[in-house]
Every structure is written in C-alpha cells, then in structure tokens.
C-alpha cells in the first residue's frame, strides 16, 4: 500500500468514525469519547475474529416457513370469516322474512282498500299501485337477494364476496324505508 493510499484510507476511516460518533450522543465528556474510541478498536478486532457460518439454504427454509404460517393464518381467518358470514346471513334471512311478511300485509291491505268503492275523482289506484309499490319494492328485494346470494357463496368459500355487509345493510334500510312509506301511504 502506498503512503498516499494509506493516508486516504485513514481519512476515510476517520470520517466514518466521526459519522458514527455523531449517531451516538455520548455526551461531551473526554473520557466517554476515549472509551468510544477504545471500543471502536476492540470492535475492529472482534470483526476480524468472527467467521460467519450461515447455512446456504437458510433463507429458503425461512421463506417456506413464512409461507406455511401465512397459509395457516389465512385458513384460520377464512374459517372465522365463514362462521361470521353464516351468522350474518342467517340474521339477514330472518330480517328478509320479516320484510316479506310486511310487504304481504301491505299488499293485502292495499287490495282490500282497492276493492272499496272508487272515490269521486276517479284516481287510478291500480295503476299507481303497480307503478310505485311493486316496482320499487321488488327491485329492492332483488338487491337484497343478490347481496345474500353473494355473501352465502363467499361464506361457503366458493367465491370472493362481490357484496359487503355494508351493501346489505344499505339495501335493507332502503327496503325498510320503502315499506314504511308504503304503509304510510296506504294507511
């Protein structure tokens, strides 16, 4: 090694040391700095002693373990998701049955009302009933059925859900509002 190279290496080493020191707020004490310098020399010695003996395929084995763990976690989570989904679907089916019963009551009430004598202004209640009530309600029920089918398939693990429980709640709320409006209109 030439003198110039040696000098350059020393400069680099000193710079590296200064950078290192600046990462370590060891305080202004001279003794601490001396200690830090001594440790630096010892660490250099230690670095030369350590001979790493890492198994060649260690990384591959670690990666395989990670993926086996992730698969296990995923299976466990999907089992939990399926259980939760089944409970949610059952609850929605009960709510839907309730909604269907309410529709049936409204419809029966409406037809009973329609069978009564027509008012003097001759308003066409049959057309109005067809145009509003069943179109909107049946569309809303269709939406709910789609939500439930999608969630049922997802809960069986057949597909990824295209609908969420938020969609289902929104659609249910819409149907609920329509039923209330309908009930108000025809009561």
């Amino acid at each position: 090694m030439t003198h110039d190279n040696e000098k350059e290496n020393n400069v680099e080493r000193n710079e590296a040391w200064l950078r290192n020191i600046s990462d370590d707020p060891i305080g202004p004490g001279v003794e601490m700095i001396k200690l830090r310098l001594r440790v630096e020399r010892q660490e250099h010695w230690f670095g030369e002693c350590v001979e790493d003996v890492v198994p060649e395929d260690l990384a591959d084995r670690v990666k395989r373990r990670i993926w086996s763990v992730l698969r296990e976690d995923d299976e466990q989570n999907s089992h939990l998701r399926r259980s939760a989904a089944k409970k949610r679907v059952a609850s929605v089916v009960y709510r839907l049955l309730g909604a269907a019963a309410a529709i049936a009551l409204v419809a029966i009430g409406s037809f009973q009302w329609l069978r009564s004598p027509a008012p003097a202004d001759g308003f066409d209640y049959v057309t109005a009933f067809d145009a509003f009530a069943f179109d909107e309600l049946s569309e809303s029920i269709d939406d709910l059925s789609d939500d439930i089918s999608s969630l049922e398939l997802a809960s069986n693990g057949s597909t990824w859900p295209t609908k969420s429980y938020d969609d289902l709640d929104d659609d249910y709320d819409l149907l609920d509002s329509l039923l209330k409006m309908e009930a108000d209109d025809w009561s």
């Binding site: 370590d24 601490m32 200690l35 010892q42 660490e43 230690f46 002693c49 670690v62 373990r65």
Partner: protein, 195 residues
Amino acid sequence: MKIADDLENIVKRAKTLDQEALDALVDLYSSRLYGFLYRMTGNVDDAEELVQEVFVRVVRTIADYSHRGRFESWLFRIAGNLGRDHARKRSRTPTILPLTTTDAGSSHDEERDRPLPNQSASSPDKDLRVREDVDILQRGMASLSENEREVILLRHYADLSFSDIAKIMETPVGTALARAHRGLTKLREWMETQT
C-alpha cells in the same frame, strides 16, 4: 440513502404481506440474524429455529410496525427478546456451552462434531481451523454476561449505534458503551489465553 429508501419501500410493501417484499427482508437479514442468534445461543439448530421464529413474528406484527428510526432496531429487538427467552428456558435445563473442553457434555460434543454449515466447498484443514476458531470464540462469548454479549452482538450484526442499542436495552448510552468495552476486553483476554 438509496438503500434506506429501498428498505423503506420494502417494509411498506411487507406491511401488506407482499410476498416479494417479505422474501426480500429474509434475503437481507436472515444471515445476520442467524449469526446474532448463533452467537447468543451457541447452537446451530436453535439459531435457525429462532431465525424462523423472528420472521414469523415479523410477519404477524409488521402491519402494526411504524417505520420510525431504523428497521434493524425493531427486528433485532425481536431477535434479542427471543434469544433471551430461549436462554432462560435453557438455563432451567442447562445445555449452555462449557467454558473448557474437559467440561464438554455430550450435546456439546455433538455440536462440535457436526459439520459446520456452508463449508462443503472448503478444504478439511480450513474446516478444522474454522471450527476451532468458532468454538473458541463461541466459548468466549458464553463466558460473557448476557448484557455484555448482547451489546457486542447488536453492534456487530445489527450495525446499530450505541444510542439505538441503549434504547433497546433501556439503559443510558454510557452503560451500553461500558458493557461493550468490558465484554470485548474479556473476550480478547479469553482469546489470548486460548491461542
């Protein structure tokens, strides 16, 4: 700077359990973690098992990791905790490396006789020399206190500053520095008596 940026990007992707990013973390750190845990436990099988356990914990907790400070601090803190737990379990059923060859138990004999990993391409003479060096250094490491050993290993394998190490070990910086000095002095004296 570029490496730090790359690492930040890798960690960000790893937080979403991106396969490539997790593999990249394994490629980046498995060797260093193995060295760290081998020096902590003195046993190749335990070291490998613990490296795998570190990454399992990383995968399960990285979503909650916030990228502040150095990633190595977080990673080697996990490794250090696992290494200490392991040492405590082992201390109940003592299999720690003996300080002299005459004390060697059967488990240590098996460990010493086992071919060292990654040395298939080297010559038998070199194998023997490497094995002897590793053995001496490892026995020297076993003679240090847990705290001294951990500071030295965190410096060497995690490349952490003393202030980072002090945070991990919950001690003042001066204490971490003093432990490193004391441990390395003991180790050097130990090595000199062996050669």
